[in-house]
């Protein structure tokens, strides 16, 4: 149904209602679409029975049959207020602003976002500003409880110390740095590989698409964890190997998503219109296809980050991830679990950090999906 026709229908209904209530202004038609603009139309009430908004005739029999007769002198023609009806009441907002507005409404996710921001800032600044280096051993202070003050070092062990007397406060924040950066890096790399791959595959179609998707199917058929473990066992273990091993497997899911999105968009009218108007392939991809697939990619990224953090923690926990003297949440939990029954906090602190971060990221992911993907809104 065209916009005009829609307005007309709404106005006619409004006009009938107005007649019932005997009010002067009828046909208030608020049209709050994604642009946030609202159109207000005023209609004169005179001659309502035989003229619609666009000059079409409302069936008098229906009107007369349903409503009591009114004195037409009770109404006054107010005319059209062109200026008022043309004005846009609310400012137009961009896609990102709209998404943010929707995201903000979810209080739990907002709390999660704040928590993650604190984590990021803490992981950057706490190891920088702390007087205690991450690997300094204080052998006279092994396994001290949290909030212990060491007078000879003039240092407060906020989270206590581990088996070598290393300060767990600094180590936990340093671990946050490693864990978070691995998560973000793995998600970023997989998107950087997957998005162009899926885009090319979807846009080209035909044989290229079939071959590219066959490759994706075979690669993603190999169990993710198994492949990462294989890489880590064979190659020198460390930060970069973990990121590389993860990215090699994860990129297939953004590739699939973007391909599906591009395939769907490719056939739509606005792309056809752009083509008809003479837009180049590059312009169609950069101005139409990519912005429209962005939502899916952002959702995918927020979902990938927690799973990458999780994988890193798991790998470090079984001993093939981050190697000492570096520390991540996984290695800290691994150190802690060995003396869990005697000094539970050594395990408990990194475990809490992992769980809360994962929880926050999952909540942010859910909220973002609701905010960015209109199809999933309920």
């Amino acid at each position: 149904m065209s916009r005009k026709r829609e307005n007309f229908e709404k106005n006619r209904n409004g006009a009938n209602a107005g007649l019932n209530e005997n009010t002067e202004r009828v046909g208030k038609n608020e049209n709050s679409l994604n642009t946030g603009s609202s159109v207000e139309t005023e209609v004169a009430n005179k001659n309502l029975t035989n003229s619609g908004f666009y000059g079409e005739t409302v069936n008098p029999a229906v009107s007369e049959g349903n409503f009591p007769k009114l004195d037409k002198n009770a109404f006054e023609h107010v005319g059209k207020n062109i200026e008022h009806s043309m004005s846009i009441a609310r400012p137009s907002i961009s896609y990102a602003q709209d998404a943010w507005r929707r995201f903000r409404q979810n209080r739990v996710a907002l709390a999660g976002l704040i928590f993650v921001l604190i984590m990021v800032l803490g992981s950057i600044f706490v190891p920088l500003l702390s007087p205690m280096p991450i690997d300094q051993q204080n052998l006279e202070y092994t396994y001290v409880k949290p909030m212990t003050y060491a007078p000879d070092l003039n240092h407060m062990f906020i989270f206590g110390t581990d088996n070598l007397g290393r300060d767990l406060w600094v180590r936990t924040w340093y671990g946050a740095r490693i864990s978070l950066s691995i998560g973000i890096l793995a998600a970023l790399i997989s998107v950087l590989i997957g998005v162009p791959y899926g885009g090319i595959s979807g846009y080209s179609g035909g044989t290229v698409d079939i071959i590219m998707m066959r490759i994706v199917e075979i690669v993603s058929g190999i169990p993710y964890m198994i492949l990462v473990i294989l890489f880590l066992v064979v190659l020198p273990r460390g930060y970069l190997t973990i990121v590389a091993a993860m990215s090699i497997v994860i990129w297939t899911s953004p590739a699939r998503l973007v391909r599906a999105q591009v395939l769907q968009l490719k056939g739509q009218e606005f792309i056809l219109a752009a083509k008809t108007l003479g837009a180049s392939t590059g312009r169609i991809i950069s101005k139409h296809l990519i912005p429209n697939s962005l939502g899916v990619v952002v959702i995918q990224m927020t979902m990938t980050i927690p799973s990458a953090i999780f994988s890193e923690a798991f790998l470090s926990y079984i001993g093939i991830g981050i190697q000492p003297p570096m520390a991540s949440w996984g290695t800290l939990a691994r150190d802690g679990v060995q003396i869990f029954q005697l000094n539970p906090w050594v395990m408990f602190i990194p475990a809490t950090f992992i769980c809360l971060t994962m929880l926050s990221l999952n909540l942010i992911g859910d909220a973002l999906r609701n905010a960015l993907d209109p199809k999933l809104r309920r």
Partner: protein, 323 residues
């Protein structure tokens, strides 16, 4: 239908081939050679050793020998357990892991389905919020933390608490081993948590989809009871997407078992695998990884085929996409 199944099987064989080839290539990309740490070897001896292990042959010949061994199920000899075949060791440990995995899969699916349906039917009420809260926590807490918490909190503390209260001679909740029935539940629960949470979330979403469908209204209009509608109309339609999650669920249970078996001291494949990693038993690690990989690929293919049989739309859609 037949074509679809054949296609899936061919794909899984290709994937297995890729995994095995990748393993071979990675092994040979490693810098150095197996005798690099042996001090001052006589070049002649070195040559003999290379000949013995077939390392003097060109890479492609080595590859075919390796593939032949793989096809015969020969994964080499363990370094740590001198002279033991990798395959034998793995299959000794397999029954424990299989039982643990099966138990946790059953717990996860059963509880996940029930919680998901309840949450969807009470959409917006407190119980819905509670269940979904538990589910989000379930997917946020890694299995190694869950295992340690249950082992310590429930097994040790709560068990000892029960022992004191009822004046028992020993802790009624065993925290390690795999012999009595009682010792098998705690690890299974620890392992099932992630699966439970993701199934509950998915089931809630898919139940919500069918909740207001016309056929549910029809069933209500016919005068069927709430239970009948839930069992025969809602569940049967809502349960379909759950099948897709079974592949990843199997994977998460398999890898989760690495740590759960270690924490609860169960002599399964997972504990064994972690141990081999710690003692750098390379043939063992590679062999176990390949077995795990093949197991998961077979499982995923089965899930795909079952889903294709149950839901004809998938079959057709796949055909539409991949030509």
């Amino acid at each position: 239908m037949f074509r679809y199944i054949i296609k899936r099987i061919i794909f899984s064989l290709l994937t297995i081939w890729l995994l095995v080839t990748l393993t071979f290539l990675l092994m040979h990309l490693m810098p150095g050679d197996p005798f690099i740490s042996t001090k001052a070897v006589d070049p002649a001896v070195r040559e003999m050793m290379f000949k013995k292990y077939g390392l003097d042959k060109p890479l492609i010949v080595q590859y075919f020998i390796y593939m032949g061994k793989m096809l015969r199920g020969d994964l080499g000899v363990s370094l740590h357990y001198k002279g033991a075949q990798v395959v034998d060791r793995v299959f000794d440990a397999f029954p424990y892991s299989f039982e643990l995995g099966l138990r946790s899969l059953i717990i996860g699916i059963a509880l996940g389905l029930i919680l998901g349906i309840v949450a969807a039917k009470r959409n917006g009420k407190i119980s819905d919020g509670l269940i979904m809260g538990v589910a989000v926590i379930g997917i946020s807490v890694p299995s190694f933390i869950m295992a340690a918490l249950l082992n310590y909190g429930v097994g040790l503390k709560f068990g000892n608490f029960l022992k004191d209260i009822f004046g028992l001679s020993r802790n009624p909740i065993p925290i390690s081993g795999w012999n009595s029935e009682a010792s098998k539940w705690l690890p299974a629960i620890a392992l099932s948590f992630g699966t439970l949470a993701s199934i509950a979330r998915l089931m809630r979403a898919s139940t919500m989809d069918v909740l207001n469908a016309d056929y549910i209204k029809t069933a209500k209009a016919k005068g069927l009871s709430e239970g009948q509608i839930t069992r025969h109309h809602m569940m049967r339609n809502a349960i379909l997407p759950i099948i897709t999650i079974l592949g990843p669920a199997a994977a998460s249970i398999l890898t989760g078992a690495f740590v759960v078996e270690s924490v609860f001291a169960i002599a399964g494949m997972g504990k064994f695998f972690v141990l081999s990693i710690q003692v750098l038993d390379y043939p063992m690690i590679i062999g176990t990884t390949v077995i795990y990989g093949v197991l998961l690929i077979v499982m995923n293919t089965l899930v795909d085929i079952v889903y294709g049989i149950v839901d004809p739309r998938i079959r057709l859609e796949r055909k539409g996409i991949s030509g």
